[in-house]
């Protein structure tokens, strides 16, 4: 398992390095935005990663609530995965907002605007930060249940973020992907997007697996410490 994890990490770095090479030196610059358009190759994969890891968090939260009484051991495992995926989702969301803000400063002349896409994204980030804070500062057996419930309600914001550029007029551009006729990227830009998408998803899987393993070790250490305390009493 350990060897596989490090091989995976090496493959991830190789894919990211190639993604960087393709994005910088192979794909042509945009006619209007020049080099600035290359931010897209980090910006879009970040949002895909966020969607994936928040979805994993949602599934784990539902499974945790469903099996917590029947199978507490497996419920603890799903809870550890829920925590790991939520943390990484928050990180991806932060990266997406940061790269978007830097892009917006050059393209629109502003770092931030309170349009529907940006505002709903900020709300999403705050919801999941609240989820993580709940887990950190509330103790007791109900903490995991409360966190799972927050995660399920928090996920409801994701479709709103996705649809915001269709439902409202926004400063953020209209959907590039699945936006109907005359939308989508030029085929010459696709290799850079695919390489970086693969690289950042592989990165995410590596980091989540490491975080999951840390959380499982902590859970087992806590359980053992509790058992020792009970035996001593």
């Amino acid at each position: 398992m350990k060897l596989f994890r490090w091989l995976w990490f090496a493959a991830t770095l190789a894919v990211l390095a190639n993604g960087f090479r393709v994005a910088m030196y192979v794909v042509p610059a945009d006619v209007n935005q020049g080099d600035l358009s290359r931010i897209l190759y980090y910006h879009v994969p970040t949002w895909c990663g966020m969607g994936l890891f928040f979805s994993i968090n949602l599934i784990c939260s539902i499974v945790f609530l469903a099996i917590r009484n029947r199978n507490p051991e497996r419920a603890l495992k799903t809870d550890a995965l829920a925590l790991a995926s939520a943390e990484l989702g928050v990180v991806y969301c932060l990266v997406g907002m940061t790269t978007g803000s830097i892009w917006g400063r050059a393209a629109w002349g502003i770092w931030w605007t309170w349009d529907a896409r940006l505002t709903t994204t900020l709300v999403l980030w705050l919801i999941y930060v609240a989820y993580l804070l709940t887990r950190r500062f509330i103790s007791g057996p109900e903490m995991r249940v409360m966190a799972a419930v927050i995660a399920i309600f928090g996920f409801a914001d994701i479709p709103i973020v996705y649809m915001s550029t269709r439902w409202w007029r926004t400063q953020h551009p209209a959907p590039v992907f699945f936006g109907g006729p005359n939308t989508g990227l030029d085929p010459s830009m696709m290799p850079a997007l695919w390489w970086n998408l693969a690289g950042w998803l592989m990165w995410g899987i590596f980091v989540v697996s490491l975080r999951y393993s840390a959380e499982r070790r902590q859970q087992m250490a806590d359980e053992r410490a509790a058992a020792i305390a009970l035996e001593a009493a």
Binding site: F20, L36, Y42, H43, E87, V95, W103, A106, V207, E231
Partner: protein, 51 residues
């Protein structure tokens, strides 16, 4: 036009650098957590009374 291109290039570098800084900072946090958890597991294993 050249000034514009230079500004676009600066923002591109800033966006890529910010991405790596945030991701590597989080990776550092995860590695620290992993080391702490391993240490906690070893400590509880050592303090377990023999059966």
């Amino acid at each position: 036009m050249n000034e514009m291109n230079a500004m676009f290039h600066r923002h591109l570098v800033a966006a890529y650098a910010a991405t790596w800084i945030i991701q590597l900072t989080y990776l550092g946090y995860v590695v620290r957590k992993w080391i702490e958890a391993r240490r906690a597991q070893q400590t509880t294993r050592e303090s377990q009374p023999p059966r």
